[in-house]
Symmetry: C2
Subunit: 160 residues, 2 copies
């Protein structure tokens, strides 16, 4: 782990947030979903689906097939509890899931990531100002923006 912090409290917080958000959306946080979410958080770096399948298979002592995991990922993505890092084909826990909730119960994806090219440590940003700026920039091109994905690659402090 490249950034020092209380890791367990991250995980605990993520779990509590997940429980709250599931309740809000009348969705069930099943054992499988909780396991997947926790594994993603424990790794604390973008995690590929097949790595996740491996870890999950080991942990449960039985063979987990891809669709099982992909469905679970989709569930967590839809609720904004995790994010997909497109440039890595990998998944990471959302640090502020509540901030992605719209008034209409819809999840808006305005997600920004700083991704270290060396260690793949990934930091999520949330910046309302930047969101607004990108939105209005879109408007000048007569484009109605919905979701925003920003991936900035470079070097984190440790790897520099």
């Amino acid at each position: 782990m490249s950034n020092c912090h209380n890791h367990q409290s991250c995980i605990d917080g993520a779990l509590i947030a997940a429980q709250t958000i599931c309740k809000q959306h009348n969705a069930k946080l099943t054992e499988l979903r909780e396991q997947v979410l926790l594994l993603i958080w424990k790794n604390h770096k973008p995690l590929g689906a097949y790595t996740l399948i491996e870890q999950l298979s080991e942990q449960t002592q039985r063979r987990i097939a891809p669709p099982t995991v992909y469905r679970t990922l989709e569930f967590l993505l839809d609720l904004g509890l995790i994010h997909r890092i497109n440039s890595l084909n990998a998944y990471i826990g959302c640090t502020q899931p509540h901030s992605h909730q719209g008034q209409d119960d819809e999840v808006h994806h305005h997600n920004y990531f700083l991704i270290c090219k060396k260690c793949h440590h990934t930091q999520e940003l949330i910046d309302k100002d930047l969101s607004g700026r990108i939105q209005s920039l879109s408007q000048t091109f007569d484009f109605t923006s919905q979701d925003q994905w920003l991936e900035v690659t470079g070097l984190c402090r440790e790897c520099r």
Copy 2:
């Protein structure tokens, strides 16, 4: 094509720009590379690698295998002549390849796209102000940014 404009002049311009940039980098714009670049431009929408393989196979009347196309895509990507749209696993021509040239002959990727969810029409933006803003935001997180990828999804004028 969802945005009206002189399409042939786009293509012609892209080809001339490619020739110039290849010369600058002492790289060869071979027939294959030119064919691929033109096909990408003719489609004028993000094009998947395997669609490209199909079109290229048809056009040349022989079977083109994936590595051939992927290598060519890599070449064009490296020179900044095309971009990869990560959210679509697809490739599109760069509208302003010269603007990605650094002084040190290195290509910097600060690329922003507006992607229509319905028709996949994709508009490239270049905005130095936004680049700077994202760069300085990265700095506040003690992160040395190199490349920036922004993909905004939503609806274009025609699809709204």
